[in-house]
Symmetry: C2
Subunit: 328 residues, 2 copies
């Protein structure tokens, strides 16, 4: 009799969470549970997941450790993909997971590769959780990812791809020459389905990405496939550094305030992968990551060309459509 | 023509630094330099190292990056074993090492294994330096070690081994049942001589230790070999927790004050390896360390029995004799 692995998702209705839910369901062999706070119980994204077979377990991340441990009963693996403001709520969650006998804990990484210690506030928040998991001696895997195709493409002046655009995205930092790893958001869950049951990835960091390109190459590919000229705005290093300094100055660490932290997160991403070039496989290895492409050479990730063709064909799906009012 | 590797030691006159200097000189193939501040130029430990062939390069750790880079000229590998109060001075040193083209940087770890994030202040200080080195993309190796034999043995009431004792050391935490890795201080340098030129350890953490024993076994071995009954004072968990809480409360992070931080460092060691059992090879592996015993199966470390026989035979050498007034 085949046994299934019981996976509980925390943050299942978010962009990364839905990719993971779909990835696990498609891979098979998993029973997928979603940890939902009462406030999220009526989200349409949740109903959609339930239709696909995801079972919800209502519990608030702010609940007591005993209540959290009860809600984690019989779960083999926890995968967390909570939003920026909820990172530290994973601390009690991890403690409860240890008490509940969870076999592997996947704390919310799922961002670009960056060393901790002051470059990215969001990375450092996550690192606090990672340290706690390590102190608990709770088996873990940290999974970071490429920058999403879905927010990497520039706008076309014809407006043809506005239906799937989140932000205008006409900026290229230092002419867009710094390479970075990119991923199709939909592939994240497929990578995760392999990584979390792989003994080689236990207590390791894994970098999952589809391709390495420079933003200039991303723009050029969109131009080539669309036949349109893309608007570019060059952003020199000094401007990035000014944005970082100003966003840091105006954001106090607590309490979290999205209007202050979103610009900071954006500016620090520009600093880390746009300018420093942190988000590449070589640097990930230097930091100790395993490379998902090397672990799973048979995995066929969606290429950036394929994604762009979908986008131009009108069948791509935009991100954050529930949260961010479109700019067009 | 054989080429030698130029290694610069920072903190060469300390206990760990001298072990490293000796280990490199004995191994051969190294030119050993010692970075000394003008104030240390007349230390007898330095004269001793110079007699053995160590070349001093005078420079203050507080010097400008340009001056530091000049003093680091032509150096292949930097090994730092600076004292607790000097950890953050390695930040400029690492930046200068990157500028000077140093091929591998060994920041000062050389303590017991412990996850970062609030268990040990000393570990967290070191972690700030490690993060900086990682941000610099400067090749590194982090080397942690077992608890020194030289401070692990209990006192004998005959006074026979007082000549080489640093502290009375009659305490056993929770009956001394928690295993820990131990190392002979003299072997640290021998491990280091292998690790720093090994391509397998580049950008990795390595755990170097001679043996794993419980403190109760340490005491029993000393009893067996000496024929004397050893005094034991049991320290229950609650007492350790109280010491930690009180030492933390009375130590402000900056400025560093040895009278406040020494008790904190001592209490947090008791918490980490004495109580939590962090300092063992299994946990080191969980945290990502390579195991020096697995890397170098031909290495013959000094056993604890051998050390104890030396100690009882009157030929052991105590530690910190220049700094700490003996308690007997």
């Amino acid at each position: 009799m085949a046994t299934t692995t019981k996976v509980l998702l925390v943050g299942a209705t978010g962009e990364t969470g839905r990719s993971i839910a779909n990835g696990l369901l498609e891979a098979g062999g998993f029973e997928v549970f979603a940890f939902t706070r009462p406030a999220s119980a009526k989200k349409p994204q949740l109903a959609e997941l339930e239709k696909k077979g995801v079972v919800t377990r209502q519990c608030d991340l702010g609940a007591s450790e005993a209540e959290l441990a009860e809600a984690l009963k019989d779960i083999d693996i926890v995968v967390s993909s909570v939003g920026p403001s909820d990172q530290l709520s994973q601390i009690n969650l991890a403690t409860a997971a240890k008490a509940a006998g969870v076999k592997r804990f996947i704390p919310c990484a799922f961002i670009t590769v960056c060393a901790p210690g002051g470059i990215m506030w969001l990375r450092d928040e996550k690192e606090k959780v990672f340290n706690h998991v390590k102190q608990l001696k709770l088996p873990y895997t940290i999974i970071d990812v490429g920058w999403w195709y879905q927010i990497a493409t520039p706008r076309l002046s014809s407006g043809k791809i506005d239906y799937a655009m989140t932000v205008a995205n006409d900026e290229l930092i230092e002419e867009g020459k710094t390479p970075s790893a990119f991923v199709d958001l939909r592939d994240i869950g497929k990578w995760v389905a392999r990584i979390i049951v792989d003994p080689r990835t236990e207590n390791k960091m894994v970098f999952s990405y589809n391709t390495v390109m420079s933003p200039a190459e991303i723009f050029a590919t969109v131009e080539k496939l669309s036949g349109e000229k893309v608007d570019r705005k060059n952003v020199p290093k000094e401007v990035v550094m000014k944005r970082v300094a100003s966003a840091r100055a105006s954001s106090e660490t607590y309490p979290f305030d999205a209007t202050k932290f979103t610009p900071r997160i954006a500016a620090e991403y520009q600093l880390s992968w746009g300018l420093r070039g942190d988000n590449v496989p070589e640097y990930a290895k230097f930091l100790g990551y395993l490379d998902a492409q090397e672990l799973y050479p048979d995995f066929k990730p969606i290429s950036f060309e394929e994604y762009t063709k979908e986008l131009l064909g009108g069948t791509a799906v935009g991100v954050y459509t529930d949260r961010i009012s479109r700019i067009y």
